[in-house]
Every structure is written in C-alpha cells, then in structure tokens.
C-alpha cells in the first residue's frame, strides 16, 4: 500500500506547529498503525530529518499511552480499540490520512503527536483512591459485592486514561474519564467512605484543569477504546448532587 500522510509537526511545547505531508511507501496491510509510523520514521531518520514523535508503550491496547486523531476520529476508524490496535487493513491503497495530536487546553503538546496528560493524573490524585488498612489483607470474599455492581465497576475500571474522550468531545470535556474513575470506586463497598468527597473533589479538579462541560454528544463513548458508557456520567452527576446536599446538611447540623 502507498499512502499520503498529513502529520502535525511541532518541535517543542512553545514552538509553532503545522501539518507536514509525507509519502508512506510499501506499507503492508498487516502492519499496525504505529508500525506504519515506525517505517515512515526510519525513512525520515535515513534522510537526516527528525522522526515523528508519538507516545506508545504496550502496543496491545492496555497501557493508554498511544492516541492520536486519525482522519478526525480519535484512535482511528476501528471501534473499541486504541491506535496501536488499529491495522493498516482498515485503510485502502492511495488513501490520504490526517494525523493530529489530541487537542485540549489541558493537554498541551510536548512534541508532534505527544501531549502532556498530567491533568488526568491530578484528577486521580484529587480523589481517585480508597482508604485501605495496610498489613495483611483480609479474606477476599469477606465483603460481598453484588454481581451487577462488580460488572459495572469492572466496566468503568477498564479506563486506560488515554484521553480519547477529551479529544473526541466537541466541548473538550473530561467527563467520561472522571466519571469512569468515580464510578469504578463508587460502585464497590471499599469505595464508599470517600464516595461523596471523591465526587466533589474530582469534579473540582476536572474543572480547574480547564476541561469543558458535558452536553452528552456521546462522542466520548464512541471514541473510547474500552467502550465505557456515558451511563457513568449520570452516575458522577448523581454522586455530585448527593454530595452537595449532604455537605450542606453536615454544615447545618454541625457534624462532619
């Protein structure tokens, strides 16, 4: 396969960037998308030009490192996969492919297609944890968890924090990410003690990072390589509302 690529090139965080055109020759349809970029990069290096920088690590869709906008779609045309799981057989010979980094004020470009997703780490740090006693663990079956809760928590916990939800959202909202983290802990008994404080703090951090709001376009759920449902966003809002009411009651009653 021969392809024409238009790739966002930006030498550094404060440098001006722009789209550059590259020809990708003799690409096998069995290559992954990242392998195709590797091939392009080899030819760039051979001709003494800087290779296209992109994030990648496991290349099997579980680490959440990779991610780019491919022809205007986060992680490209295949549903429920990260960029690394996309193969060139999804494209046709002679295709033109536009490749851009995630675009968000909260995800500044570091170089080319690499963005800084530390905003997600700060959202996690603000409330994405549980208090657990250290020392020897108790018996795993000591705390019963309803099957349905376990399933929903597991679905939410599948989030790999890649940032595709933010990239795909017309509002640049991080609601799906934050909601997934709030849901996966909030559904389980171990997550109950901090459940409400978690919701208010993580939402406050999400807002402080400068992400947009949620208007339920549904684009995030479609872009998510783990197909996390926007049902989690309703859950986040519910926890947030309940927390607001309870904190008010605590203040009135002088408790807490």
């Amino acid at each position: 396969m021969n392809l024409t690529l238009h790739v966002w090139r930006q030498p550094g965080p404060d440098a001006r960037g722009g789209m550059e055109r590259y020809e990708a020759r003799d690409i096998s349809p069995d290559m992954s998308f990242l392998e195709m970029l590797d091939v392009v990069n080899e030819s760039l290096v051979e001709s003494g030009k800087p290779p296209i920088a992109f994030d990648h690590d496991c290349r099997e869709g579980i680490c959440g490192s990779c991610g780019m906008m491919i022809n205007g779609v986060a992680h490209g045309p295949m549903r429920g996969t990260a960029t690394c799981q996309l193969h060139m057989r999804s494209f046709g010979d002679g295709d033109t492919i536009y490749i851009e980094p995630w675009r968000s004020r909260a995800f500044p470009v570091i170089k080319d297609l690499v963005v800084n997703r530390s905003a997600f780490d700060r959202i996690i740090a603000s409330g994405g944890f549980i208090t657990a006693p250290t020392g020897s663990p108790q018996d795993a079956n000591n705390i019963p968890v309803a099957k349905r809760d376990a399933d929903e928590a597991m679905d939410a916990a599948a989030c790999i924090g890649c940032g595709a939800c933010v990239a795909a959202c017309p509002n640049g909202s991080a609601s799906l990410f934050t909601a997934a983290k709030i849901s996966h802990l909030g559904l389980l008994p171990q997550g109950q003690p901090e459940r409400e404080r978690r919701a208010t703090r993580m939402v406050a951090q999400m807002d402080a990072e400068g992400f947009g709001h949620c208007t339920l376009y549904g684009e995030c759920q479609e872009a998510c390589p783990k197909q996390i449902s926007i049902d989690t966003i309703a859950r986040m809002n519910r926890d947030f509302l309940v927390a607001t009411r309870h904190e008010h009651e605590e203040k009135v009653l002088g408790g807490g």
């Binding site: 992400f211 947009g212 376009y217 684009e219």
Partner: protein, 226 residues
C-alpha cells in the same frame, strides 16, 4: 459544598440548565395543549385567554416569573458553558469527523439562539402586541374578550410570520429531542442501558410538541382555522 461552589462547577451549571430546561418542557406542553383549542373555534380559545388573564391572573404571574427566571438562568448557563468549552480547545482540528452526535445535539447552541429570538418576538407579537403584523392590536371578539383567535388567523396568513413560527418550531423539536433526554441524564437519572444514546421518551416529547404547535399555523394555511 458551598452553594457558590456548586454554581461555579460545570456540573452545577449543567444541573441548573437541566432543571430550567425541564421547567421549559412542562411549560411548552401546557402551552401547546392550550393552543390546540384554536381548532375548537374562536369562542373557546378567546375564553381560555380571558380566563388566564382574569380569574387566574395571579397564578399566571407566578408562572411567568418562574419561566422568566428559568429562561434567564438557562441562557446564562448556556453562554458561560459555551465560552468555557471554546476555551477548552484553543487549537482546533484540521479534520474532525463527528461519529454519533445527532443534528439535535449539534444545533443546541444556534437553535437555542433562534428560540430565544423567537420567544422575544412571540411575546411582543401575541402577549404585548407591540409587534402587530396583522393589525389586530386591541381587537376584541363578540363577547368582549381579546381576539387571540383573530390574531392567529390574520397573522399566519402573512407568509413570513407563518414561516418564522414553523421554522422556530422545528428548532424547538430538535432542541427537545436532545434536551428532554440529556437533562434527565444530567440530573443523574439514568438506568444502565446497553445503548444509552437511544431516546424514546424524548422523541415522543419532541414530536408531540413540534406537531402540536405546528398544527395551528398549518391549520390557518390549510383554511381549517379561519
């Protein structure tokens, strides 16, 4: 949490939009049902108008104040959140292909602006009669009630008035198709669903409200209301 912190958060603002939106939905359903009395003839409709402005006047004003506050909050939150989402992506994409967002979702902003313009025009047209394209200001019917019916008939015979009303009702239908569904979800009432983007109730609400309102100008154009 401090009430001000609730107001400042994006979710707080969305919840305000959801609640005020639901108030609006309740209102348009009542308004639409009231309008359909046009098909029952001038006496029925004009007497209904006279009842609202006569014995129910205090109640009407309470509802008006609730509605005005709801509209102001709804528009203010929409404006603030829109500015916020613009700031959230200072550099846009060269290429972006929406995958699942509906036309209704994508037209919430500009459809909303059109609806605001329509609401202002509509109040000036039928409530205050400041805008009076059909020359019906101060007209009364045989019973001495304000001739709402006559204003409807005369106004919708003017092509641009009919077109504006019908276009605004298409915008309203789209606005409700997204809003009736998303407001409930924003408030956190959503059952786990294998396909959360499906919306049956919102579709029914949108079609009923759109059709109910649109039937009146169409009835005038078709000569059923005359």
């Amino acid at each position: 949490m401090h009430p001000l912190a609730f107001y400042r958060s994006t979710i707080g603002k969305k919840i305000i939009m959801g609640v005020t939106g639901l108030i609006g939905i309740a209102f348009v359903i009542l308004h639409m049902a009231g309008n359909l009395q046009a098909f029952a003839g001038p006496r029925k409709l004009n007497a209904y108008g006279a009842m609202l402005h006569g014995p129910l006047n205090e109640l009407l004003w309470v509802l008006r104040i609730i509605l005005i506050v709801a509209v102001i909050l709804h528009v203010l939150m929409a404006y603030q959140l829109t500015m916020r989402s613009r700031a959230a992506r200072p550099i846009g994409y060269e290429h972006r292909e929406p995958q699942v967002s509906t036309l209704a979702a994508r037209t919430m902003k500009w459809g909303g602006v059109l609806l605001l313009a329509f609401i202002i025009f509509h109040i000036l047209h039928f409530t205050t009669q400041t805008v009076d394209p059909a020359g019906m200001r101060g007209m009364t019917d045989v019973a001495g009630d304000r001739d709402v019916y006559g204003n409807i008939v005369a106004s919708f015979q003017i092509w641009w008035v009919a077109v504006f009303y019908i276009a605004a009702m298409i915008a309203l239908g789209l606005h409700l198709y997204h809003g009736a569904w998303s407001s409930i979800r924003t408030l956190g009432y959503a059952k786990a669903s294998p396909n959360p983007l499906h919306r049956r109730i919102a579709l029914v609400v949108a079609i009923v409200v759109w059709l109910g309102f649109t039937l009146v100008p169409l009835g005038v154009i078709a000569g059923i209301i005359r």
